[in-house]
Amino acid sequence: MAETVRAAFEVYRFDRAKDAAPRYDRFELDLAPHTPVLTALLKIRGEVDPTLTLRYSCRSAICGSCAMQVNSKSRLACQTPIGPELARHGRIVVEPMRNQPVLRDLVVDQAPFWQQYDRIQPHLILDSRHPMPEGKENPMTPEQVDRFKETPRCIACAACYSACPAVEADATFPGPMALAKLYRFVVDPRDTAHQDRLLAIQPGGLWTCLRCHLCTEACPKDVRPSERIRDLKEMAVRVQGATELGSRHAVGFKENLRDRGQLNEMKLVRQTAGLTGMVGEIGQGIRIFRKKPEILHRPRKIEGMDEVEKIYAALDDGKEAPP
């Protein structure tokens, strides 16, 4: 057998039927460093404590069952070897995913996650005026397939949902997986509701994303949800203009920088919230003014404005534009 190391696990234990509060159980095992956390947990279940409860199935990162927190990161247990975790943290703390209520030990109730998935209408929306070709596939070039980016790889493990601070702050936010799935339909040449989908997701949907990219970091399949959310935002603005608080802020931000190379914060507040909205921000405005009186002055163009202009010219050329 391969060389082994002593691995200490601290595992979250909780049974909603009988426990008032969770506890952590400690288990120590000798394991090869490349052993996945899932294999270790199953060994604990088989040899030490058969009541240790977790979801798992394929053990090859394709079924999406075993997402959990490993040393505070959302990971697939089957795809996380113990060696690097031990090297970094000295032990392996295993906890259930966040943003979903715990049923027992490492098993969470995924209903909130699936509700958000259902909300984006996760199916092709067809239009009788554009029937499918009879007895044939819809043509789709490799380039059109490429526009899906990595979204078809999603295994719905919810690691991104667990990692998302916007979900934590606002349970009505669809979360990264649902939005990446939405993107998949918005770029699908067979779908006939691209615009409606973008319009429907804007209020209280798209712009809650904080752009922290924790979802992209957590995703075990490299779906990169935050990048797809960014693409959706750009497409939404293109379809509808800047009509939402979030989109107005984004567009105002972009115009400010194009104009001066730096932010005109007064202007940005007006662009984002509107004149009436500014009234609500007066208290905050006064507090900022006390610390930073120059906020009332219109900022000058920064030095090196020509560089900024080059960046915007490249953007306008569409070189960086999303699909």
Partner: protein, 560 residues
């Protein structure tokens, strides 16, 4: 008690397709599944789905390849039907929303697969199962049905030769319930976890097959177990045949491309039984590599170039990197055969009907039989959809005219009595340990090559495990998500099925497809061109035999 017209157990591709067909036929449908549908094992299928859509290809060639691949044990009428449905089935899945890989002209891309005369395997990179599962679930999501998600099937209620419903429990609450149904479709997938070294998911425990067997359904051709040639060495994780279809080659420890000695014409793209035996023989005869996890050979993709490997075999690259610490762009992948597919299952006709009225089956849980003694790559995804739909249609038609099911007040009690006994013991055998024991027996005694003494020894040991199982104890007393109880239930199911494999293999004194007897190395069409049928008795499986349906293709020696 709950009540529906059609209950489908299992929510992989076969179950979902059956449910969709039954819903579309206007029935009240429920799906009972122990996994969320998107977590089904169908999603693990990598390589592709066969359909003779290429201009140079033909349905007849697909039929011939499948008949030959089956080593003439597949029913030719069923295979003809199956191959004719292939094109429309794939097109339908494309219309449902499946994202397939495409050629430069925008048409569905195709790759070469083992045992096929033409490149006819349509794919979605190397995650075709996942792509189909997503597409079908998205389509099914627009229909009305009831989903019992994370429910374990414990029993099938059959009286007077007719099905009346199922008994199951909700993992989340631990509550048992009866679900009355006029017809039931079992689509619970494989039972590869009978083996230790398997590509199958942990959940592949044959629940529906075992429950049907107990209720009197006939199991067919159980001895035919497919070993996939290229499973990752330590973990048994599948490395798709698509890797060889894209040009991957196999080498032994002296760097020899040994397939030239076993299948000089098609080399690595011979059918799976042939390639698996070749790898096994290389290692056994000392020409393989040796390491801490046993003997192996190399699967090389390096010569294909980074771009091709990373774009068409993306999951394989990830699997190899994450699970074996190997980068297939620059390094060979260590592989050895592992249990992969069960050709056998609940015996059905072309419409999914079993010998029990109102009971239907489809997918890997069923045996129609189209795969015969050896399944071709790319035919199993197709089977789930083609026969899932047939079973759903037939179950809907049956439910339309059948009398209401009669559940009795005692059904729930009778069905759950053993489980309650397991949980009330204060001392007894550990079901998880028994599962491991069973797996070791099957790996060692019922593997790629078989002979009489090893099979007899295997049977003896297996029956010893089964005897111990009568005294198991479930330690976990919680009602909430009691995986300990689910584990025990599954182990009991697998023990029933393992016995039918060994008994069938012992009785079949010939070598055909995946069933290779060293003491009977030749195929014996005069005696054995027939299906094995197993029915349960208190003393173990009772075997009988049924003829193979054949139409146009006379048995020939199978050479690749």
């Amino acid at each position: 008690m709950r009540r529906h017209e059609v209950v489908v157990v299992g929510a992989g591709l076969a179950g979902q397709r059956a449910a969709l067909a039954a819903v579309d036929a206007g029935r009240d449908v429920a799906i009972v599944t122990k996994l969320h549908p998107l977590r089904s094992h169908s999603g693990a299928a990598q390589g592709g789905i066969n359909a003779a859509l290429g201009a140079e290809d033909s349905v007849d060639t697909h039929i011939y390849d499948t008949v030959k691949g089956s080593d003439y044990l597949g029913d030719q009428d069923a295979i003809e039907f199956f191959c004719r449905e292939a094109g429309p089935t794939v097109i339908e899945m494309e219309h449902f929303g499946t994202i397939f890989s495409r050629g430069p002209d925008g048409a569905l891309a195709r790759r070469a697969f083992g045992g096929a005369g033409f490149p006819r395997t349509i794919y979605a990179a190397d995650r075709t199962g996942l792509a189909l599962l997503q597409g079908l679930w998205e389509r099914l999501g627009t229909s009305r049905f009831t989903l019992y998600e994370e429910w374990d099937l414990t029993d099938l209620v059959v009286r007077d030769g007719r099905v009346h419903g199922v008994v199951a429990f909700d993992r989340k609450s631990g509550e048992f319930d009866e679900i009355a149904a006029k017809s039931v479709v079992l689509a619970t997938g494989p039972f590869g976890r009978i083996y230790g070294r398997t590509t199958n998911a942990h959940s592949c425990t044959g629940d529906g097959v075992a429950v049907a067997y107990r209720a009197g359904a006939v199991l067919k051709d159980m001895e035919f177990v497919q070993f996939h040639p290229t499973a990752l060495l330590e973990t048994g994780i599948l490395i798709t045949e698509g890797a060889r279809g894209e040009g991957g080659i196999l080498k032994n420890a002296s760097g020899e491309r040994f397939m030239s000695r076993y299948a000089p014409r098609v080399l690595e793209l011979a059918s799976r039984d042939v390639v698996s035996r070749a790898i096994y023989t290389e290692v056994k005869e000392g020409r393989g590599f040796q390491g801490p996890y046993g003997g192996y050979v190399h699967l090389e993709l390096m010569h294909l170039g980074k771009e091709k490997v990373e774009s068409r075999l993306q999951e394989i690259v990830d699997f190899s990197r994450n699970f074996a610490g190997i980068d297939p762009v620059t390094q060979p992948i260590p592989v050895f055969p592992g249990q992969h597919y069960m050709m056998g299952g609940i015996g059905t006709d072309i419409r999914g009907a079993t010998n029990v009225r109102g009971l239907f089956a489809a997918g890997e849980a069923a045996c129609v039989s189209i795969h015969g003694a050896n399944r071709l790559g790319g035919n199993s995804l197709l089977e789930t959809l083609v026969f899932g739909k047939q079973a759903g249609l037939a179950a809907a038609a049956y439910a339309e005219t059948a009398a209401a099911p009669e559940m009795r007040a005692t059904d729930l009690d009778t069905s759950t009595a053993p489980l309650r006994a397991w949980s009330s013991r204060t001392d007894g055998e550990d079901p998880t340990a028994l599962r491991t024991e069973m797996q070791e027996v099957m790996d060692r005694y019922v593997g790629i090559y078989r002979d009489e003494p090893t099979l007899l020894e295997g049977l003896k040991r297996l029956r010893a495990v089964k005897a111990k199982f009568a005294r198991i104890r479930v330690v976990d007393q919680s009602k909430v998500y009691n995986v300990n109880l689910s584990d025990a239930l599954e182990t009991g199911h697998m023990l029933e099925l393992a016995e039918t494999i060994v008994v069938g293999a012992y009785a079949r004194t010939e070598s055909r497809g995946a069933h290779a007897r060293t003491d009977y190395p030749k195929r014996d069409d005069a005696r054995w061109m027939r299906h094995t049928l197993a029915q349960r008795t208190p003393d173990g499986p009772s075997l009988s035999y049924a003829p193979v349906a054949y139409t146009r293709w006379d048995p020939k020696e199978r050479v690749y």
